[in-house]
């Protein structure tokens, strides 16, 4: 872990109030604690010694710049935080320092004439989606945590989340430019105000998906996408193997890529369908959502998908005619994780296994057997399995009993990420949702080697010579 000079919180507060408005500073103990927590607290709980010096909520790029210049001069760590929903520690506060909460960086301008929207990083994704939808546009960001996740985190992470990459691409494909404050306090403008993105070196791409290591994104310019028409389908299988083969066929037989193609194993499907008052499915299932410029186009795509899926002899595969039926099925998918946890009286440990097309069947089996050879995970048995199978992604879920000690839960999480790294490295893939570092650094080393990691570290030094921005997301070793 990096080392930094220690300061008294009251001194930091007194210094900052000279350069920042009072309303942007919070020294409340409980606010400082809350800004230091993320969803994997049980794996590394906060101690009284670690509480941040202060929480700063700047309302402008200029204020962020002042803060970063100050922090750079004092060699004090700054942790940038949106909603703090990262599942692998990317937003985690992990070293005595300052928390920069971006939730007041919340401008939003839909520039229809220019064909782009500009917004601050502090918005919740759902809010931006709703604002764009009111104007007939589609936001190509679809995290499961859409209600709460902040849009700056999604951009920093470049996550596709639920979407099928071959349909929607990555957020990076839609970002035209950024406003960024460097860890040294200088402000950069990247990219373009035109709709034609820069060829060649464009610093935008260093920050989108940059794991928050290189700068603080304070403004985002994104292409406007016209809204789509939608169509939906579902297929039920006897077994998971033909289900995985059906997904392989979608790729191999050049079926139109769906926007979403989700998978629930039998246990998960039955729990979540029952909760939503749907007939209990006989086995595992996939549900899929296609988009088109017209309803006919979207429907055509679903029919094509159903046709391909039927070649693997599902119990049933069909286009869903009633929107209400689709909503309930989708809600069953969305509520799967909470209801698994609630039924098993525990908290979840979630990993992300990604396959190649040819390895999908084998990868599915490995995901199912993920606990084998892992002493703590074995106590929990086979994981619950669901995921974005259209994006070749599985989410094995372990429910950790709430009365397990913090140490035991931490062991389970460590084993889970170890196994995730092992399987993804075996298939030459990587996670497409939760960033590359923080807990996943061992995987990065294994997958890409020492040299690649060293280059990333060198780049971090170049942007952040005092290593103050989100330090320890990229560990020393």
């Amino acid at each position: 872990m990096a080392e930094y000079p220690e300061y008294k919180p009251e001194h930091i507060y007194e210094d900052l109030r000279k350069i920042l408005p009072e309303e942007s500073l919070s020294k409340s103990l409980f606010e400082r604690i809350n800004n230091a927590l993320d969803p994997y607290t049980f794996a590394s709980d906060i101690s009284q010694e670690e509480i941040p010096y202060i929480v700063v909520r700047p309302a402008s790029t200029e204020q962020v710049s002042k803060l970063m210049k100050y922090a750079h001069s004092k060699k004090t760590p700054v942790f940038v935080r949106g909603s703090g929903t990262s599942l692998q520690g990317a937003s985690r506060y992990r070293h005595k320092g300052i928390v920069l909460n971006v939730n007041r960086l919340n401008h939003l301008n839909i520039m229809k004439d220019y064909g782009f929207v500009e917004f601050g990083p502090g918005h919740r994704v759902l809010y931006v989606k709703e604002q764009l939808e009111k104007e007939g546009y589609f936001l190509p960001l679809v995290p499961g945590s859409i209600r709460v996740a902040s849009i700056g985190g999604i951009i920093s992470n470049n996550t596709t989340a639920h979407a099928v990459d071959s349909c929607l691409g990555k957020p990076r494909d839609y970002i035209l430019g950024l406003e960024v404050v460097l860890p040294t306090g200088e402000v950069l403008q990247t990219g373009t105000r035109g709709l034609r993105r820069a060829a060649g070196t464009d610093l935008t791409h260093y920050f989108v998906g940059g794991d928050g290591l290189l700068g603080v994104i304070t403004g985002i310019r994104m292409k406007l996408l016209p809204g789509f028409k939608n169509a939906y389908g579902v297929a039920f299988f006897d077994d998971q193997i033909p289900l995985a083969r059906a997904v392989q066929r979608i790729y191999l037989e050049k079926a139109p890529p769906p926007l979403f193609l989700e998978f629930l194993d039998k246990r998960v499907a039955q729990i979540s369908f029952e909760i939503q008052g749907l007939a209990s499915p006989p086995g595992p299932l996939i549900m899929f959502h296609a988009i088109g410029q017209t309803e006919e186009e979207a429907t055509y795509k679903i029919d094509q998908l159903v046709g391909v899926i039927q070649k693997e002899s599902p119990i049933d595969a069909k286009r869903i005619e009633e929107l209400d039926e689709w909503r309930r099925i989708w809600l069953a998918r969305e509520s799967a994780l909470p209801f698994i946890c609630q039924a098993a009286k525990g908290v979840f440990g979630l990993s992300e296994i990604v396959s190649t097309v040819p390895d999908l069947v084998d990868c599915l089996k490995e995901a199912m057997n993920m606990s084998k050879g892992m002493p703590t995970l074995e106590k929990l048995g086979e994981p619950y399995l669901f995921g974005h199978i259209g994006a070749l992604t599985f989410h094995p879920v372990f429910v950790l009993p709430v009365d397990w000690s913090a140490e035991e839960k931490a062991k389970a999480i460590d084993e889970m990420f170890f196994k995730e790294a092992e399987i993804n490295a075996k298939y030459g893939t990587c996670g497409g949702e939760w960033g590359q570092f923080a807990r996943r650094t061992p995987f990065y080393l294994k997958r890409y080697g020492e040299k690649a990691f060293e280059l990333v570290r060198e780049m971090k030094k170049l942007f952040d010579p005092n290593n103050i921005l989100n330090p320890d997301v990229l560990p020393d070793e």
Partner: protein, 394 residues
């Protein structure tokens, strides 16, 4: 139990409940308080409960810090929106229950309640109501309703609660309800010496006082042979139904009046003949809806009024926005708030195209009437209690 044992048990209960919370923050966008404060995480749902969790876990004793915790915990309106979000989207943590226990703990540690709330608790102790209304004055108002005292001949004990005798708008609502009961020829009675159900003390964390009140009420119910209670307030309804000892409430059916009216309408004991050609929206009270799943009955009552068009809020039923009055907040103000929930709700009612907002809770009524006044929209939006609208339709 000794004081230390009580505190120890409360602390353990709090940690046990909050061990389920994983800081996913899915509850925050649902928390109405978070919406009207300045964006501090500790001013919303799991931000509040994490504050409580660490204060308990670390055995916090610093009075200044505990006062900060008090200000956080007592600002919660206990609307349970967070619990609905957590159940639907995460681990099903009982956040509002933890907050209630946190308040109990602060009372044990002589930190709670909020300074303004102390008078309400003292009044509960002295007068049996939180509004400092002397028993004689309350009794006089109750007698003015011209409802007989409860006797064994009565079918129903009409439990009016503390708010109506203290507020003119709530009084009109209560009198309208009495008129409806008479119209339906219900043999109901009231308690001349009615005291509070105990809800405010429970919500402010004063459990000892709640238990005293509970015992007094139970003694009355038993001695009078009460078999059926119809409450005026959703808060009394929830308290009798869910917080009084189940074994001692056995044999007593508890209903909110909206349920009772829906039954009367279904049985044709109450028929509305006059058309009310208005667009009406319905404010779901938290303690009827989210606490007890009573969503349909008030709507059935409204549907039975000829000419009335029910227009729903964009967030209704389990997603409904609290008026801001629950959880003891009728007796406290909080500096951190930059808007009022009732004002937001009145604006939403206007957006829904409603001319009248109807509610079935006296606290919602009071807050919404204030909201209409503070927004200066009295010409375009009327606030009415459900019984008042029903009386117009007789």
């Amino acid at each position: 139990m000794q004081e230390e044992e009580i505190e120890g048990k409360l602390k353990q209960d709090i940690l046990d409940i909050l061990d389920y919370c994983i800081n996913c923050r899915f509850c925050l966008p649902s928390c109405p308080l978070f919406d009207i404060t300045t964006g501090d995480i500790s001013q919303g749902a799991s931000g509040m409960t994490r504050a409580l969790y660490y204060a308990v876990k670390w055995g916090e004793t610093d009075k200044e810090i505990l006062n900060e915790l008090r200000n956080i915990l007592y600002s919660c309106m206990t609307c349970r929106n967070c619990e609905v979000a957590c159940k639907d989207l995460s681990t099903g943590t009982r956040l509002a229950e933890a907050i209630e226990k946190g308040r109990e703990l602060l009372i044990e540690e002589m930190i709670g309640p909020m300074p303004q709330q102390k008078r309400a608790l003292e009044s509960l102790y002295l007068y049996g109501n939180p509004y400092e209304v002397p028993s004689s004055k309350r009794k006089a108002w109750l007698m003015g309703l011209n409802v007989p005292s409860f006797s064994r001949e009565a079918e129903v004990l009409f439990f009016i609660g503390c708010t109506a005798p203290n507020d003119l708008d709530a009084q009109n609502m209560a009198m309208a309800l009495v008129q409806l009961l008479k119209e339906a020829q219900i043999r109901c009675g009231i308690l001349e010496d009615e005291i509070c159900c105990g809800c405010p003390s429970l919500k402010m964390g004063e459990r000892g006082l709640f238990e005293e009140i509970c015992e007094k009420n139970l003694n009355q119910f038993t001695s009078l042979g009460v078999k059926r209670i119809v409450t005026f307030s959703p808060h009394c309804f929830d308290t009798f139904l869910n917080r009084y000892p189940q074994e001692e409430m056995q044999g007593i059916k508890v209903q909110h009046y909206s349920q009772f009216l829906a039954d009367l309408i279904e049985q044709k004991q109450l028929v509305f003949k006059t058309r009310v050609e208005k667009k009406v929206t319905y404010q779901d009270p938290c303690y009827l809806g989210r606490y007890n799943d009573v969503y349909d009955e008030p709507r059935r009552v409204l549907d039975s009024i000829p000419g009335l068009e029910l227009v729903e809020f964009s967030r209704a039923r389990a997603d409904s926005l609290c008026c801001g009055g629950g959880g003891g907040r009728m007796w406290a103000d909080f500096d951190a708030e930059v808007d009022r929930l009732a004002n937001i709700r009145v604006k939403e009612a206007l957006q829904a195209g409603a001319e009248i907002m109807v509610t079935a809770c006296p606290w919602c009524l009071i807050n919404m009437v204030d909201g209409v006044k503070s927004l200066n929209v009295e010409d375009s939006m009327k606030i009415k209690g459900l019984p008042e609208l029903c009386v117009e339709a007789l």
